[in-house]
Amino acid sequence: MPHTESDIRKMLDKIGVEKIDDLYSDVPQEVIFREEYDLPSAMSEIELRRHFEELGKKNRTLTVFGGGGVYDHYSPSVIPHLLARSEFYTAYTPYQPEISQGTLQYIFEYQSMISELTGMEATNASMYDGATATAEAMFMMVASARKKNRVVLSETISERVLEVVKTYADFHGVDLTVVPAKDGVTDREAVSAEIGKGDVAGVIVACPNRYGIIEDFTGLADEIHAAKGYLAINADPSTLAVLRTPAEWGADIAVGDGQSLGMPMSFGGPYLGYMSCGKDMLRKMPGRVVGATKDIDGKRCFVLTLQAREQHIRRQKATSNICSNQSLMALYATIYLSLMGRQGLVEVNTLSCDGAHYLYKKLIETGKFEPAFNKPFLKEFTLKTNLDVEKLNEYLLKNDIMGPISAGEGLVSFAVTEKRTKEEIDKLVTLISEI
């Protein structure tokens, strides 16, 4: 706050009041806060750094073998440097396109790259996270399938995503049917039975699913389309460089969490939720969208478009209340995908996949684990064990390792990324075999 005493005096005079308090003369005096806030006194930069240093010491950065929707992927050094350009991070939403072409163009590039990954024609400028994006996909299907209000969700979707979708459905009033998993994958018979009832607006499935399994959705899209409903697939975007895409499965909407695109785990955020769809659903898609156009001089440029659907215009008639996007994280993903390219992303998946298969084999060899489902997986897999999971993780934590995520009674999920080394995996296996 830059004002000097004399600045303040001059300004008060211009306004025609005597003192600062007079600027609050319209406020009922009994609600003017006169006590002391329960806060520390002001800290200098030196003290602030020390405070964060002290807090930081109470954290432990671990060798991560857990996933559960968040993966310890490699973050290229270039990205934080470019994100630190304050022309990017101190800008507002690009409502004035003439002076926001930087933001608008990277969002356009982001949309293009995510559309490449999902195989779909349109992508929005991003949502909060994968879970809320999935909930928005649910709303979108209900809004598109006129007069149907039921959505079927496979329980094999990540547990945290499931919880968020349930909450949104509960409050909004969507009739959500969660179909229990069967042998680690979507129970297709049960889903077919639900679709057969004729009132299903859409089906949501995940790939890879909560157990790390790559599910086979052959025929699912045709089945739900024949019943005039839609299919949404929640997919880890990193894996789409190698796995069959939502478009190839015939899905109408693809959603997921962008964290796997090299974003720091950062205790849960910020990441981003991505959402893609085909042209036919474009106008039901929530959130911002950037389009290419020309200015009056014929110059190529970019602009927020299809804004008429948005909450600030449509108010309670909007299909979503989202106003912002995770813009800077979309820039993160864009730079990541530019650096890695197709080949880099394939390598990331190959390394992760090979490491995961190596660990899988080694863990089985310890005799302490058994295959749980025997289904194809990429970087995360689930095993059966008689070990006490809590004790196992306490033991690994002592050795600076984040162990597996509990995946239900007697089940644990391990994840391996390209950041894990063979030595780290061998150490983990040795530690476990010594139990």
Binding site: R283, L306, A308, R309, I313, R314, K317
Partner: protein, 126 residues
């Protein structure tokens, strides 16, 4: 001043209706297209859909606004104006010549409750 045709009936939500036999042709008024500005998209029902008087049957979008289309009549949609799919701007060119849907009326008496050209003109003036 917006154009209003004498021989049509109107809804206060700015749709017009023309009845021939048991078929009602529905569109938006010149006033509505003018208020919306450059129309970029028309969200239309499908043939065979049931529409209900007073409930929405689609939406029109311009660059800066989006507005629900409220059906003035009830019945089954028998035809939609597919020309609007590719050329939504036709509504700006002539909102009365470019209808949106044709409905087979389930209750023809509903039309009697709609506004006359004079009554609608008064609403537009307000």
């Amino acid at each position: 001043m917006s154009k209003i045709l004498e021989d049509l009936r109107y809804a206060d939500s700015h749709e017009w209706v023309k009845v021939e036999g048991d078929i009602a042709t529905v569109g938006i008024t010149d006033y509505a297209q003018h208020a919306l500005g450059s129309i970029v998209y028309v969200d239309m029902p499908e043939e065979g859909d049931e529409v209900t008087a007073g409930e929405d049957f689609g939406a029109v979008e311009s660059v800066k606004a989006a507005s629900d289309l409220i059906s003035p009549v009830s019945g089954e949609v028998v035809e939609i104006n597919t020309a609007l799919e590719d050329e939504p701007e036709l509504l700006n060119q002539d909102a009365f010549a470019n209808w949106i849907m044709k409905v087979k009326l389930s209750d023809a008496s509903e039309v009697d409750g709609l506004l006359t050209a004079d009554a609608y003109a008064k609403i537009c003036e307000e």
